[in-house]
């Protein structure tokens, strides 16, 4: 096997598939990246059995073939090569790969491609096409609210719900919930699946180009695949029942407060200097007389106390939240102002953007002593 290609193309492909290389491989071959050279195309693959990624790039192939190289080393080597092009040659007798670029010369031990579990394209009965900017927003506004605790798998993923031309993505760690809805053109039918947040975050990173392009999604009852540009990603779906999220979104609120996003964001950032060292990272908010007063008290450090103007519509209220849950959502609020809607100090609150009904964030308060 022998080929020449652009260093940057190869690096991008390696970095893309490397996301699926297991850090704790069950089997040595899974620490590798599979490379196949054929018809002037290089195909790279990696999988940890949960996720599989394929990436194709152009190359000038003098001798077709396939090989598996340890993901970590090939990535580090190609990342540091000096030249614009890379020459690759596999020596079958010695069982080593030569990698050359300018006057730099590497030989890497290789594994046999026969042992690699080639990724099979998903045999899916259902598919849809979604624009990448739409998918970006669905992912970017929800995965942050997923849980990291593997003990309850359904909360480590996002629920994707398809209902004819509406698509909704929901995530929750049981203390807060993020929901983003979008319109989906040219789709009919229903679908419901829980996608691991890990794979969604990887896709989010890969979809960073400015050119709008379609993403093809296929799925069956236990797997999903995403196809865009030169990339194919498949992942298992999370098995389980996602809780009925409609039930936890209050329909009415007694108080609605309009706040300036940037001002509030910086107040929370300062409050967190004190609150993040406490057990529940508690920031207490008192909404009254056109003002919100945000305090945090840590007996071992000190306290913070800050006020800013707020447009309050309804009853006055005092409520405590985990400051992280507030700052997390403020990272994605992209309107100048936003709303907090409340009922009482022990019931869930909603955060929504101004003139953007598509996003809803529900957050539970922290019950503090004496409540």
């Amino acid at each position: 096997m022998k080929f020449t290609c652009q260093r940057n193309d190869l690096l991008q492909a390696i970095q893309t598939v490397a996301k699926a290389v297991s850090s704790k491989p069950q089997n040595p071959i899974l620490s590798g990246i599979y490379i196949k050279a054929e018809n002037n195309t290089l195909e790279l693959q990696a999988t940890d059995y949960e996720i599989g990624i394929i990436c194709k790039i152009e190359a000038e192939i003098t001798e077709p073939g396939n090989i598996v190289l340890t993901g970590r080393y090939i990535q580090e080597v190609v990342n540091n090569l000096p030249g614009v092009t890379v020459e690759f040659e596999y020596d079958r007798q010695e069982k080593i790969s030569h990698i050359r670029s300018n006057r730099s010369n590497f030989t890497l031990l290789s594994m046999s491609a026969d042992d690699f579990p080639i990724i099979k394209k998903l045999e899916a009965n259902k598919s849809l096409k979604i624009m990448d900017n739409v998918l970006q927003e669905l992912i970017g506004r929800t995965t942050f609210a997923c849980s990291n605790e593997e003990a309850r798998p359904v909360f480590t993923g996002c629920l994707l719900e398809l209902n004819d031309n509406s698509v909704v993505m929901v995530s929750t760690d049981t203390k807060r919930l993020a929901l983003q809805s979008k319109v989906l053109e040219d789709f009919e039918g229903q679908g419901k699946m829980i996608i691991p947040s890990k794979i969604l975050n990887e896709i989010h990173k890969l979809l960073s180009s400015d050119m709008p392009r379609p993403v093809n999604i296929s799925y069956n009852s236990n797997q999903i695949s995403f196809e865009f540009d030169n990339i194919y990603i498949s992942s298992r779906l999370i098995d389980g029942q996602f809780p009925d999220y409609h039930r936890v979104i209050p329909t009415d609120f007694g108080t609605r407060i309009k706040l300036n996003t940037e001002e509030f964001r910086s107040v929370i950032r300062r409050t967190a200097l004190i609150s993040r060292k406490t057990d529940y990272n508690v920031a207490t908010m008192e909404f009254a007389n056109g003002m919100v007063r945000i305090t945090s008290d840590n007996p071992e450090i000190g306290n913070s106390d800050e006020s800013l103007t707020a447009e309050i519509d309804g009853e006055n209220i005092v409520i405590s939240f985990n400051a992280d849950y507030i700052s997390d959502v403020l990272k994605i609020v992209d309107t100048k102002e936003f709303y907090i809607s409340l009922n009482n100090s022990l019931s869930p609150a909603a955060i929504r953007m101004l003139d953007d009904e598509s996003f809803t964030y529900i957050i539970t308060p922290v019950r503090t002593p004496g409540q």
Partner: protein
């Protein structure tokens, strides 16, 4: 920093209140407690103690020892009332008070030198104020820690006042019998007796390794430090309980996982009920298992979110028990729960139906006791 702890204990509290309220009881042997066939003495006056009557003794036996005694059922609301008055007085003597029961408490008076001439005088003032305001006589012990203070208050009862100077701790402790150490019950005392350890001085001379071999780490550690008069436990003010748990020691060691799990389920149900009664939810569940050779294993687990449901407790305990993997020669099993945070991050998916279910079960069990609702597997064949 050197600490100064005061232990205040009312003398024959219930009996004293009764004697205050009823002139006709004064100077007579008075026994407060259960009157029925299986009743026990809860307190008796010092006059009754002369006849050998003491608390926790079956009332029937007390009647034999002291037939001329006056036996009455307690008037508990009245005792609480007097207790409240006494604790109100405590409040003016120390900001840090740990109640141990209705009639005794630890007061931390560390660093309060400026408020008193000396500890002895301060204690006398407290005793006088209690006597004047409520008519009750208290015994007080003052020492550098809780362990010593409690021994001290008991040493010169009734109307006692003993101050243990920090330089005379060993002198004070050495002649005392080992039974004076809290946690040394009949069993430990028996083992110590076999080793010819009778006084705290004897115990202190025992090398730590020896204690460790005989009692296991926890008890050895406990005995070793207390024998030297060292006790770091802080005075913990009244507040929510720190843990709720139950344990059981078996007459005959358990030999199978099935038997152990059955007991653990029973304990989990009991602890869940106690948590719900107290209105607490626990974040941490702990399993305690002691084997025949007195090795004690404890394992704990954090719940995903605080709970007081039997099922959640048992699921965690089951997991801990399975992981510990000891199924033979089980002498003791315990389930305890902690982490009742003052704060709680509320859950979006709180299951109100489950709350109602447990509420209903608890209500029925409150009414019917053991005839109420339980799990099929807990019904003894």
């Amino acid at each position: 920093m050197d600490r100064l702890i005061m232990h205040v204990d009312m003398d024959a509290f219930f009996a004293s209140v009764e004697q205050l309220d009823h002139e006709e009881y004064r100077g007579k042997p008075l026994i407060v407690g259960g009157i029925g066939g299986r009743g026990v003495v809860s307190t008796c006056s010092y006059e009754a103690r002369k006849f050998g009557v003491h608390s926790a003794m079956p009332t029937a036996k007390a009647m034999k020892l002291c037939p001329q005694g006056i036996f009455i059922r307690g008037n508990y609301p009245r005792y609480s009332e007097v207790s409240q008055q006494i604790f109100d007085i405590f409040d003016t003597y120390s900001p840090l008070i740990e109640p141990l029961s209705i009639d005794e408490a630890f007061l931390d008076i560390t660093g309060m030198e400026r408020l008193m001439d000396n500890p002895l005088q301060y204690a006398m003032k407290l005793k006088k104020e209690i006597k004047e305001k409520t008519g009750i006589v208290a015994s007080v012990g003052i020492a550098p820690n809780k362990f010593l203070a409690k021994i001290a208050s008991d040493l010169d009862k009734p109307d006692g006042l003993v101050v243990v100077d920090k330089d005379k701790v060993q002198e004070f402790l050495d002649p005392l019998p080992v039974r004076r150490i809290w946690g040394v019950g009949a069993k430990t005392a028996m083992v110590l007796d076999r080793l010819r350890i009778k006084t705290i001085a004897d115990l202190r001379k025992m090398p730590y390794e020896e204690l460790h071999k005989t009692f296991g780490e926890k008890t050895a550690y406990h005995l070793f430090w207390l024998a030297q008069g060292k006790d770091e436990r802080p005075v913990a003010p009244r507040g929510r309980a720190k843990s709720i748990g139950n344990e059981v020691t078996f007459g005959e060691d358990l030999q199978t996982a099935e038997d152990a799990l059955q007991v653990l389920l029973e304990l989990s149900v009991k602890v869940g009920w106690r948590l719900r009664k107290a209105g607490f939810k626990a974040k941490t569940i702990q399993l305690k298992l002691r084997t025949r050779d007195f090795t004690t294993h404890t394992r704990q687990k954090q719940l995903f979110e605080p709970s007081n449901y039997d099922n959640d407790i048992y699921t965690a305990i089951h997991e801990l028990f399975t992981a510990l993997n000891i199924t033979k020669n089980i002498r003791l099993l315990g389930v305890s729960t902690t982490g009742f945070g003052e704060m709680e991050s509320l859950s979006l998916f709180h299951d109100e139906k489950k709350d109602k279910l447990y509420q209903a079960i608890d209500d029925i069990n409150s009414k019917f006791g053991k005839l109420g609702i339980t799990r099929g597997s807990l019904i003894k064949k």
